[in-house]
Amino acid sequence: MANREVHIERLLGHKVFDAKGKRVGRLEEVIAVRQDNEWVVQEYWIGGGALLHRLSVRGVARALLGFFGAKENAGFKVSWDKLDLSHPKRLRLNCAHHELEKLTEKDKTTRRRKHQGRSK
């Protein structure tokens, strides 16, 4: 696994399973941070809630799901060291489902705005 290249865009939407083989959700986002003068992957976001965050339709989805009596899947954030990328088509966590941290509203606010001046 050391020094291997991985294409993030080819992982997008792939199913992620926990250490016991139980399906957790799909990979929907990758978060990077600056550390020691380089940009590194900090965490991955997985599950329905993560997709809704990415598409920014969480409010609408929550309202619709609530209307039909269904529960929203909050989505999880997974630290970089908990996801094994050696088999991109079958991504595997090295922890159990219940050990995962749920995504919060605060996580949404770190996205960049897209409406402040442009190159063209």
Binding site: I8, I31, A32, W39, V40, V41
Partner: protein
């Protein structure tokens, strides 16, 4: 700590060079896995080969074969080292000159062989 949402805020965004000229889209992002360290952001990729791979491996390999017929450079996607990224958000701005990359090869070929030969093309 400043965070980048790579899928939302970088992937599929418009790429522009240091003079703000378009150079394609961010079609791919390459990370390098390391032992006992978090994966490092290594490159942005742009090119139809990269896009084709996102649909299927078979399509990606076909795109590479077709690209190679047009010259070695076109069998491979164009990679931009991550440390050349100056800004992101609306566009992803990189500190390179698009004229010095193979990104404009098709444009230049079209100009030379077809468009440039038609009167009034400027």
């Amino acid at each position: 700590m400043k965070k980048i949402h790579l899928i939302c805020d970088v992937l599929d965004d418009q790429l522009v060079d240091r003079k703000k000229r378009p150079m394609g889209k961010v079609d791919g992002i390459v990370i390098i896995l390391r032992k006992d360290k978090p994966p490092r952001l290594a490159y942005l990729e742009t090119g139809l080969n990269t896009v084709a791979h996102r649909f299927s491996t078979r399509l990606g390999k076909l795109a590479e074969r077709i690209g190679r017929k047009w010259g070695v450079r076109h069998g491979k996607p164009f990679r931009i080292p991550w440390d050349k990224v100056r800004d992101y958000g609306i566009d992803v701005e990189v500190d390179i000159d698009v004229d010095e990359t193979p990104v404009m090869d098709w444009e230049k070929w079209l100009n030379k062989k077809i468009i440039g030969r038609i009167p009034g093309s400027g």
